[in-house]
C-alpha cells in the first residue's frame, strides 16, 4: 500500500492535469471565451438545442411519392421513345396503376422494335446485376413496365441524397448559422438549427418542393369540361386558386413546356407597373434558349406558371423573351416571393418532405434551464461535499478532492469528443455527484470495518481498497450496460444523459479509486499514523 512509485504519481497527475485543462475552454463560454489563450486546446462541449435554444426538425419522405414521380417520368420517356422510333410506333391504352406502367402497341409487328426502343430506358441497379425496371409483354401486344425493388431503393436513395443537398442549400440561403443536416435511415432527414426565432418560416421553406414549370395554356379546351376536371386529349388540368377571372382550373398542353430547374438565379423584386412583389428568375444557357423558343413560337398566347402542381399565374406572352430572364407574378407577399426565390435558387426537392417531428426550445427557456441547472449542481455538490467531510474526515476530504476532479474530467472528456450537453445531461451530471462518491463510501466503510476487526492502519486501508474494488467494478459495469442501452435506443436529449452517465462512470472509477488511493498512500507514507480517524 505504501509502495506507490513516483512514475505512477507523475503519470496520474499529468492525466488529471490534462483532463482539467481540456475542460477549461467549455467553462469559459460566451463572452469570456475570447480571452482564452489560443495556444491552449480549444475544443468545447456543444450545448444541446434544449439548452441553447433552437429547432430540431425531422423530415420524412414517402417512398410511394418517389415511385409515383419515377413512374411518371417513365411514362413520358416511353411516349417520347415510341414517337422518336423510326418508323414511329403507335401506342395506346396507357395506364399507370399499382405502381406499374402498361400500354398497348397497336401494330403487333412492332412489338420487337418497341422492346428494342425500351431497353435503353433501363439500367443496372444495385450490386446484384438486377436492372432497375422489368419489361414484360403480355397477351402479345401489352407491355408492362414495373420497377424492381433494387431500382426503387436506388431511386429513393438518390432522391434522399439530392433532397439533403437541396435542404442544406436552402438553409444556407436563409443565413442560419451552424445548421446540422443529416440523413437518417432510408427516408428521413434531421435538421437542427440552433437559436432560431421563427421555426415556422424554416418549416415552410423545407416543405416546399419548389418544382416550377412553364406550360402553354390549352385555350381551345371546353371550359365546362375543364371546370369539371376532364382534360382534353393531350392536355392536363391544374388548379388555379388565384385566377383573376374566377375559374378554378386551367388546362395546359402536356407537351412543349419547360421546367424551371434550369435556373442560375432567382430573386425577389417588384413589378414595374403594379408594384406587386414578384420573383425574377434567370435561366441558364440551355433553359434560356428553350424559353426563348417557347415564347417566340407563341406570341399572343397565354402560358401558365405552375409551382408544385398549382398555377401561380397565366400571363400572356406579349413579345418573345430572348434575354434568358423572366418574371414570375402571382399573388405574392414580399416574404412569400422571397421564400420562393430561395427555394428556386436552391433547386427543387425530388420528393415531397413532411415534418414528422419538431422540437423547438426558445432561447429564454434554454438559458433558464442552464441557470437553474447550474444552481442545482452547485448546491447539490456543496451539500454532498460537506456530508462526506462530516462523515469521513480526512478520507472524506480525499473523496471530495477526487469528486471535484471528476467533474472537471467529465467536462474534459466531453470536450475531447465534442459531446453535446443536454438538459437531462445536466441532471446526469448532478446524479453523478451523488453516485460517484459511492465508490469512496464503499472503500471507507470497508476500512472502518477492517479497523474494527483489529487490523492495523496500513493493512486496513489496503484491504479496504482491495475488497471494495470488486463490488465497485461489478456495480459500475451494470450501470454502463444501462447507459449503453439508453444511448443506443435513446434520442436527442436523453442520449445526452446517457453520454454524461457513461463518461461519469468511467472517470469516477478512476478518480474515486485510483486517485484517492494515491492520496491516501502518500499520506500514510509521510505520517505513518498509528490511529485512523474514519
Amino acid at each position: 500500500m505504501l509502495d506507490f512509485p513516483r512514475w505512477k504519481v507523475i503519470s496520474i497527475s499529468l492525466l488529471l492535469a490534462f483532463g482539467v485543462l481540456m475542460s477549461l475552454p467549455s467553462l469559459f463560454f460566451g463572452e469570456s471565451h475570447k480571452y482564452w489563450p489560443t495556444f491552449l486546446p480549444d475544443e468545447t462541449i456543444n450545448l444541446g438545442l434544449d439548452l441553447s435554444g433552437g429547432s430540431h426538425i425531422l423530415l420524412e419522405a414517402d417512398p410511394a411519392d418517389v415511385a409515383e414521380t419515377r413512374l411518371q417520368t417513365m411514362e413520358e420517356s416511353v411516349r417520347a421513345e415510341m414517337r422518336r422510333a423510326n418508323p414511329r410506333i403507335n401506342i395506346g391504352d396507357i395506364s399507370r396503376k399499382d405502381g406499374v406502367l402498361s400500354f398497348m402497341v397497336r401494330d403487333s409487328t412492332q412489338v420487337d422494335s418497341a422492346r428494342e426502343a425500351l431497353l435503353p430506358l433501363t439500367t443496372g441497379a444495385g450490386l446484384t446485376g438486377q436492372r432497375d425496371w422489368d419489361i414484360e409483354v403480355r397477351d402479345d401486344t401489352r407491355f408492362v413496365v414495373s420497377p424492381t425493388s433494387a431500382g426503387l431503393d436506388n431511386a429513393v436513395d438518390n432522391a434522399m441524397d439530392t433532397a439533403t443537398d437541396v435542404i442544406r442549400r436552402r438553409i444556407d440561403e436563409m443565413g442560419t448559422r451552424e445548421p446540422t443536416i443529416i440523413r437518417q435511415g432510408d427516408t428521413r432527414i434531421v435538421v437542427q438549427v440552433p437559436g432560431l426565432e421563427d421555426p415556422e418560416a424554416l418549416k415552410e421553406l423545407l416543405g416546399k418542393t419548389a418544382k416550377l414549370e412553364f406550360k402553354l395554356v390549352d385555350f381551345e379546351a371546353d371550359p365546362n369540361a375543364v371546370a369539371e376536371g376532364r382534360p382534353p386529349v393531350g392536355s392536363q388540368i391544374f388548379p388555379y386558386p388565384d385566377s383573376p377571372s374566377g375559374v378554378s382550373n386551367i388546362a395546359v398542353k402536356r407537351l412543349g413546356g419547360i421546367s424551371g430547374d434550369k435556373l442560375t438565379d432567382a430573386g425577389q423584386g417588384f413589378d414595374q407597373e403594379t408594384n406587386a412583389p414578384v420573383v425574377n428568375i434567370t435561366f441558364d444557357t440551355e433553359g434560356g434558349a428553350k424559353f426563348a423558343r417557347l415564347t417566340q413560337n407563341n406570341v399572343g398566347r397565354p402560358f401558365a406558371i405552375i409551382l408544385d402542381g398549382v398555377v401561380l399565374s397565366a400571363p400572356n406572352i406579349n413579345e418573345p423573351i430572348l434575354g434568358g430572364s423572366a418574371q414570375i407574378s402571382g399573388n405574392f407577399t414580399v416574404e412569400g416571393a422571397n421564400q420562393l426565390s430561395i427555394a428556386l435558387r436552391s433547386g427543387a426537392l425530388p420528393v415531397e418532405l413532411q415534418v414528422v417531428e419538431e422540437r423547438t426550445v426558445g432561447p429564454d427557456l434554454g438559458a433558464d434551464s442552464i441557470r437553474k441547472g447550474m444552481i442545482a449542481a452547485i448546491i447539490g455538490t456543496a451539500a454532498v461535499l460537506a456530508f462526506m467531510v462530516v462523515t469521513y474526515g480526512r478520507f472524506g476530504f480525499y473523496a471530495n478532492f477526487a469528486l471535484t476532479l471528476n467533474l472537471f474530467l467529465i467536462l474534459g472528456v466531453m470536450a475531447i469528443f465534442n459531446a453535446t450537453l443536454t438538459l437531462p445531461g445536466i441532471a446526469g451530471f448532478i446524479l453523478t455527484v451523488g453516485s460517484a462518491v459511492d465508490a469512496n463510501v464503499l472503500i471507507n466503510e470497508r476500512i472502518r470495518e477492517e479497523r474494527r476487526r483489529g487490523r492495523r492502519v496500513v493493512q486496513a486501508v489496503e484491504v479496504g481498497y482491495k475488497e471494495a474494488s470488486r463490488a465497485i467494478f461489478d456495480a459500475n459495469i451494470t450501470n454502463v450496460i444501462a447507459g449503453l442501452l439508453l444511448f443506443i435506443f435513446g434520442s436527442g436529449p436523453v442520449r445526452g444523459f446517457a453520454v454524461v452517465l457513461i463518461i461519469g462512470i468511467v472517470t469516477s472509477v478512476f478518480t474515486a479509486v485510483v486517485v484517492t488511493r494515491m492520496l491516501v498512500a502518500l499520506w500514510l507514507r509521510r505520517t505513518r499514523p498509528q490511529e485512523l480517524v474514519i
Partner: protein, 327 residues
C-alpha cells in the same frame, strides 16, 4: 474530530425475519401498481402518443388566461386541449392529442402546432413561445417501442451479466428486484398522473442502474461471506451481509437523495418528473436489494457450494474451506 456515524458499529438487525411479510407486501404493491396502470393509465406525453405540446410564458400577465386559452384553442377544431400550469402561474403548457386523420397525414400534428402558435402570437402580444414539441403518430410509436426495448434490453443484459459474474440464482434475484422497481415506478406515475415522457424512460434506466448497484454491493458481500463462513445458516448469513453493508447503503442513498433534492427544488422545471421518479427510485431500489434480491436466494437454495462446480465441490471444499487469506 468526532465523525458522523449514521449507522452504529456492529448493527445486527434481523432484516430477513420479516422477509415473508415484506415479499407479500411487495407483491401486493406490484399487483396494485399494475392495477393502477391498467385502470388509470399513464399520462403519456406527446413523445409516446403523438400530438403537440407548446410551452408558453405570458410575460406581462401574472396569471395565464387558462379558461380563455382553452376556448380559443378548442375553437381551432383540433379537439380539446390539456392546459396545465408549470412553474410560475404565468407559465402554461398546451397539449393536444393527435388530430383525426393524422394516420394518413403525418404532418397534421405539426400543422396543428403551427396554427396554435400563430393564434397565440396574434391574440396575445405578450406571449413568449418557450418550446414546441410536435410528434407524428409514426415517430411516437417508434419512440415508444425504442423505450420499451431499452428497458427490457437493459434488464436482460444486466441479469445476464450478474448470472455470469455470480450464479444464476443471483441473476434471477436481480431480475426480480428490477421488475419490482420498474413496476412500482410505473405505479407511481399512474397514481400521480405526472407526465410520462422520454425523460422518464431515462429515469427508469437510471433507477435500474442504481438499484442494481445496491443489489450488487449486497450480493458481493453475500458471496464473500458464503466463502468465509461455510457452516453458517443462510438466513443468518444474509442478515450479516445486509448489516455489514448497511452503513454504505444508508450513506450512498443519502448522497443520492441530497443531489436529487437539489435537482427537484432548484433545478429546471422541465425535468421535475425525472427527478421525482429518481427520488422515489432510490427508496424502492434500496428496499428491493434487501427484501427482494436477498430472500430469493433463500428460496433458490443458494448455499456455500453455489460458488463451487458441483462435481468437484467435495474435492475443493478443503482448499477454500477456511476464511480467505487477505492482505
Amino acid at each position: 474530530m468526532k465523525l458522523l456515524k449514521l449507522v452504529p458499529d456492529n448493527t445486527n438487525i434481523a432484516f430477513l425475519k420479516w422477509r415473508n411479510i415484506a415479499v407479500a407486501i411487495s407483491i401486493l404493491m406490484i399487483i396494485g401498481s399494475m392495477a393502477l396502470v391498467a385502470q388509470r393509465g399513464l399520462n403519456f406525453g406527446v413523445d409516446f402518443v403523438g400530438g403537440q405540446m407548446i410551452r408558453t410564458t405570458f410575460t406581462e400577465t401574472t396569471d395565464a388566461p387558462i379558461t380563455e386559452l382553452r376556448e380559443k384553442v378548442g375553437a381551432l377544431g383540433y379537439g380539446e386541449p390539456t392546459i396545465q400550469r408549470f412553474g410560475e402561474p404565468n407559465e402554461v403548457s398546451i397539449r393536444m392529442k393527435l388530430p383525426e386523420g393524422a394516420d394518413q397525414e403525418p404532418e397534421l400534428a405539426n400543422t396543428m402546432a403551427d396554427e396554435i402558435t400563430l393564434m397565440l402570437k396574434a391574440d396575445y402580444p405578450d406571449v413568449r413561445i418557450d418550446g414546441v414539441d410536435s410528434v407524428s403518430g409514426k415517430v411516437s410509436e417508434e419512440l415508444l417501442s425504442k423505450g420499451v426495448w431499452s428497458l427490457v434490453g437493459a434488464m436482460l443484459a444486466i441479469t445476464l451479466y450478474i448470472w455470469i459474474r455470480f450464479e444464476w440464482q443471483f441473476g434471477a434475484g436481480a431480475l426480480f428486484a428490477l421488475f419490482h422497481d420498474v413496476s412500482l415506478t410505473f405505479g407511481f406515475f399512474a397514481l400521480t398522473q405526472l407526465e410520462f415522457n422520454l425523460n422518464i424512460v431515462a429515469a427508469l434506466l437510471t433507477i435500474i442502474g442504481y438499484s442494481l448497484n445496491d443489489t450488487i454491493v449486497v450480493y458481493d458481500r453475500i458471496r464473500e461471506n458464503l466463502k468465509k463462513y461455510r457452516k453458517m445458516d443462510i438466513i443468518a448469513l444474509l442478515d450479516l451481509s445486509v448489516n455489514e453493508t448497511l452503513a454504505r447503503t444508508v450513506m450512498t442513498s443519502l448522497t443520492m437523495l441530497i443531489a436529487l433534492i437539489a435537482l427537484m427544488v432548484w433545478g429546471p422545471d422541465v425535468i421535475f418528473g425525472f427527478s421525482a421518479a429518481m427520488f422515489l427510485g432510490v427508496f424502492i431500489g434500496t428496499y428491493s436489494s434487501v427484501y427482494m434480491a436477498a430472500p430469493i436466494l433463500i428460496w433458490l437454495k443458494v448455499g456455500p457450494d453455489s460458488f463451487v462446480p458441483p462435481a468437484t465441490a467435495g474435492d475443493r471444499a478443503e482448499k477454500i474451506g477456511g476464511p480467505e487469506e487477505i492482505g
